[in-house]
Amino acid sequence: MEPITTDICIIGAGPVGLFAVFEAGLLKMRCHLIDVLPQVGGQLSEIYPQKPIYDIPGFPTVNAQQLVDGLMEQIEPFKPTFSLGERVNELQKLDDGSFITTTSDGTEVHSKVVVIAGGLGCFEPRKPAIDNLEEFEGKGVAYMVKNPEAYRGRKVVLAGGGDSALDWTIFLADIAEEVTLIHRGDTFRGAPDSAEKVFELAKQGRINLVLQAHIKAINGNGHLQEVEIVDRDNAISVIAADNLIPLFGLTPKLGPIAEWGLNVDKSAIMVDTVDYSTNVKGVYAIGDINIYPGKLKLILCGFHEAALMAQSAFKQVYPDQKLSFKYTTVYGVSAF
């Protein structure tokens, strides 16, 4: 795969990473954004899309998802490119001072500047505590359904009690040979009609519903073969399974960022508040991921940091050009 070439590679497509595209765009720098989530918006889209936000200047109240949509509209003229659903695993500095950023899918981005706007870290699936779970990842165990057709004619066990566990149970009931849903409680709190549908499918014998139980162990020979379940009375049963899909939502983890040789304190990257640069020249950290005296984890503060970062990054991207500051009100956006 040919590397993607750009001026700035932005890790994290939360509000701060998105706004960094705007500030970079005003200075004629192109951006590529990478996020492990399949959608942009970071915490706003993943944790609280419907919450109103009250402290964005000029918006007495704005819904979190609306703010993200507005940011996407605002950066559209600068034509950023995206790799979504990919985690950045490696950051490599080349001899000429530029960088290669590599993702979990093998995508490589070659850029002069890297901006880490990683927020609280990578959103990763919550995993049940099963000793050998990771051994079976990609060999029957998956934490999201990418291609439902892959489950046609197979014995699938799902675990969880939220909306995605309910939705996929209903969907896979028509595709898989056998579907089992395991849930620790005896009621579901997802959408009431999904819950009703799951109980109905169980009544019709089209799925197996195992309530008040959890997975104790998984076994197989190179590929998943069976799932051991323990119920509330500690009775164990074994189900034959080709696939296990634990669906317990996502949680942020600092992840690979901790291993890139940056000064990290309490899961945050230490920066110079002059330009939000890190101890590695050409690498900046903005938004919730950074730390400095007086840091506030607010969207507003991340936006400010993005503006100062862009001014400094300009000198890396265009070392021979002089930067002259302009107001957007004077020149408009398309003039930049």
Binding site: R126, A129, G162, G185, G190, F248, G249, T251
Partner: protein
């Protein structure tokens, strides 16, 4: 004073003393006493990263509210005695209770 005992992920126990007239959630108390608890959403019952288990105490504290149950359903390790620390308001009848921290570090 309200006396609680907090059991950490490694099984170690620490007593915590809270003045009676203070209006805090258990999550805020845990943070203030330097227990490692993520509490990403700051107590809005949106993130489930303030998960605790009621080990000892009055029966009523063993049962999560509907709002908590919505979120606890998204945790792989939630049990019947699981609660969200941010949804537990400190009160006098909690004196002597024992909580175990389960939430992510």
């Amino acid at each position: 004073m309200i006396n609680l005992t907090i059991e950490d992920r490694d099984g170690s126990r620490r007593p915590v003393e809270i003045p009676e007239d203070i209006s805090l959630s258990l999550m805020e108390v845990l943070k203030a006493t330097d227990h490692h608890i993520l509490a990403t959403c700051g107590g809005m019952a949106l993130c489930a990263t303030c998960h605790v288990q009621v080990v000892e105490g009055p029966e009523k504290y063993f049962h999560a509210t509907d709002q908590e149950l919505d979120l606890l359903d998204t945790l792989p390790d939630a049990a019947h005695d699981s609660r969200l620390a941010c949804q537990l308001r400190i009160s006098e009848d909690m004196d002597g209770m024992v909580f175990r921290i389960l939430g992510e570090e």
